[in-house]
């Protein structure tokens, strides 16, 4: 009974802290712009492909496969974690065993995956510490990002080791007390053989120790994640569900501009019923100008740097790093969100996303080639953020590089970005001959 009370208390604290954190993070959604989601069947297909089947992570086949193993393993092991919560609350043991063969199957898979994940984590750690993977470095990769990664990997390694320990000592305890055990544990079975000579007391102790260690570590882990880049673990699957599913080349239309342009082209065009609307700012200059999907993107980013590694601007030594853009959005939202929460929508700290976090130089270096968006394993769309900030610079500040301003003027006056007369638009067809006809 004491154990049950202790467990319920730990769970309560875990949930309370988690709720507190989530409130802080999700509060900021109210300061983001609306964006309507459509085509849910396509979104669900996309989620299966990109999130569940891990399609895009396989663009780096070897490390992608290792990540996929960890992801799939987590999904299976999650079942056992839920069982542990139920067992902890009700003082039962292996309560889900009533599921019969299905339970055996999940336990066996989870047991094997625990070993696979532990090995994968060791590979990840080795790579991080001993191999110089270029994309793990960069001006935006501060020591805290590295510490984050190593801490998370250590957490997961300990979780897997305690899971295997729990299973192994469970088997030994059942064996020594003459009880039959529930589930199938291919890895832990062989692990148990190593401890056959241990005293009954020792076995019972290590079984309980591993059980408590594992579940309490999960509780702590769950509360550490939201404060690190590994919030990814919670956010990436929902992020894929709400991510952009349109062709990458397509740019989102600004409907507010369409209204104005239609009026300009035809002053007699009927105004929308309802009349005056609030004067809107065009584009994005600060974190609360982004839409909620952009914010989801930013919360889900785990700073893997695959985007930056393929960015033509970054490859050729320019300041732009798509990863930094996403990280800056998240950091600025966190900073401004704290103020917004205290002082309300009127909060102004005299800072903004453009200028204090992201420079114009970064924004203008983008070729809109979409390599970053193509690469992102969880469908984060960096170009739309960059473009929305360019829109602010051009539409609100008239601050485009001079070459572009010339191109704008030419398009406006001549219908082409170069300074040619529109009357000459057919000159290419002069004196055109063909040698033969089919």
């Amino acid at each position: 009974m004491t154990a049950q009370i202790l467990f319920a208390l730990s769970l309560l604290i875990t949930l309370a802290v988690f709720a507190f954190t989530m409130r802080r993070i999700f509060f900021n959604f109210r300061y983001t712009k609306k964006k309507k989601l459509t085509d849910y069947p396509a979104r669900i297909r996309e989620t299966f492909k990109v999130a569940i089947a891990q399609q895009k992570i396989f663009r780096h086949p070897v490390m992608g496969f290792v990540h996929a193993l960890v992801f799939w393993g987590f999904m299976v092991i999650l079942f056992g974690s839920i069982e542990m919560v139920v067992d902890g609350l009700f003082g039962t043991e292996r309560s889900f065993a009533v599921l019969g063969w299905f339970y055996d199957f999940l336990m066996a898979t989870g047991d094997v995956f625990a070993a696979i994940i532990a090995i994968s984590i060791l590979i990840f750690m080795f790579r991080r510490i001993f191999l110089h993977v270029k994309r793990f470095y960069g001006p935006e990769m501060k020591p805290v990002s590295k510490a984050d990664a190593n801490l998370t990997l250590s957490f997961i390694l300990l979780l897997m080791l305690s899971l295997l320990g729990m299973n192994a000592f469970y088997l030994l305890e059942m064996h020594n007390t003459g009880q039959s055990f529930e589930g199938v544990f291919p890895v832990s079975q062989s692990l148990a053989d190593l401890f056959v000579g241990m005293s009954d007391k020792g076995i019972i102790f290590w079984h309980h120790f591993n059980w408590w260690f594992h579940i309490l570590l999960i509780f702590i882990f769950a509360n550490v994640l939201p404060y690190s880049k590994h919030f990814h673990v919670f956010m990436s699957v929902p992020n894929v569900l709400v991510s952009r599913i349109e062709p990458l080349g397509k740019v989102d239309n600004m409907d507010s501009i369409t209204k104005e342009v239609k009026l300009m082209l035809d002053p007699a065009a009927p105004m929308d019923a309802g009349g005056e609307e609030t004067v809107e700012k065009f584009g994005v200059s600060d974190a609360n100008d982004i839409n909620w999907v952009n914010y989801m993107n930013a919360l889900s980013c785990t700073e893997c740097g695959r985007c930056t590694a393929v960015c033509p601007a970054n490859i050729t030594g320019k300041l732009l790093s798509p990863r930094k853009i996403v990280m800056d959005v998240r950091a600025r939202m966190k900073e401004k969100g704290a103020g917004l929460m205290k002082e309300g929508a009127a909060f102004d700290d005299g800072k903004s996303l453009i200028g204090d976090y992201i420079s114009e130089e970064e924004l203008w270096a983008c070729t809109m080639c979409n390599a970053c968006a193509q690469e992102c394993p969880i469908n984060i769309n960096q170009p739309s953020l960059i473009l929305d900030m360019r829109r602010y610079l051009v539409l609100e500040q008239s601050k485009a590089p001079s070459g572009l301003n010339t191109a704008f003027t030419n398009i406006e006056n001549n219908g082409a970005p170069w300074q040619y007369s529109p009357e000459d638009r057919m000159n290419w067809a002069d004196e055109l001959f063909i040698n033969k006809q089919a």
Partner: protein
């Protein structure tokens, strides 16, 4: 080459004239600003028109009624200018009841196909690589010579054809129809590296860095040992041509659009 006496002059059909005669052509050939004004890409436009003529396609161009698609303006952040261009173009296209559009420019292809519908322009839009691949598949382009048989060709994926709209194979199938050796760069298809001209870069100075993007890409193409960089985009063409010049490879390496290669192979 046959002498001028054997050549047939092409009168490019213009939409307004055909409409006056009460004829609605099957295809609208969208020339695009680069196709109409850029000296290098004008040649591509002319070769593509030769192919259209050779195929006997019922088509027309808008001529001086065509205006910039707005792709550059939009991606450089000038949404106002983009929409003015788009709405004016759409009005003209809809006025002629245009149904099918083919264009040599992947940027205009993407803009017309993916972005004009939201503003009231609904058309079936084809990139010339898809159009030519289709005609080749149907067996309509007979008599391809061995003109490039001894050449090694590498294809550079335009971002707005590839990643932008997901078309990687059509331009390759056009090249496959031309007897020649084909090679690939390490970064190809969805991994393709941008030429450096998109997103308005074509019209501005590059930001400070170690090198220009077009040089990085040209070096990759040169490393394949190819004799020809095949492109399918006016911006890529400018960039790759500049890159070849910059690397002093003009003697050894040429840059052609896939339509040019096909037209030259057919001896048009």
């Amino acid at each position: 080459m046959t002498n001028t006496a054997n050549k047939i002059k092409i009168e490019v059909p213009v939409m307004a004239n055909l409409a006056a005669q009460g004829h609605k052509p099957e295809w609208l050939f969208w020339v695009g600003s680069a196709g109409a004004f850029d000296d290098r890409y004008k040649k591509v436009t002319r070769e593509f028109v030769k192919l259209l003529t050779f195929l006997g396609i019922d088509y027309a161009v808008l001529g001086i009624e065509e205006s910039d698609s707005g792709d550059v303006a939009r991606r450089a952040g000038n949404e106002m200018l983009f929409q003015m261009q788009a709405l004016q173009n759409i009005e003209i296209l809809n006025g002629y009841e245009v149904k099918k559009i083919v264009t040599c420019c992947p940027h205009d292809f993407n803009t017309l196909k993916n972005e004009y519908p939201e503003l009231g322009g609904h058309y079936e839009v084809w990139h010339h690589s898809q159009f030519l691949a289709e005609k080749l598949k149907a067996g309509n382009l007979k008599g391809i010579s061995e003109a490039f048989a001894s050449k090694k060709i590498v294809f550079h994926d335009p971002c707005y054809l590839g990643r932008g709209t997901g078309e990687y194979e059509a331009p390759r199938s056009v090249l496959d129809a031309i007897p020649s050796e084909k090679v690939e760069m390490k970064r190809n298809r969805s991994f393709g590296l941008c030429c450096g001209a998109g997103g308005g870069q074509m019209f501005k100075e590059a930001e400070k860095g170690d090198k220009e993007v077009f040089i990085e890409r040209t070096e990759e193409a040169i490393a394949t040992g190819a004799d020809i960089i095949a492109t399918a985009c006016p911006f890529c063409m400018v960039m790759m041509t500049d890159g070849i010049k910059y690397k002093n490879q003009e003697e050894r390496m040429k840059n052609y659009d896939i339509a040019e290669l096909l037209s030259l192979s057919l001896g048009l």
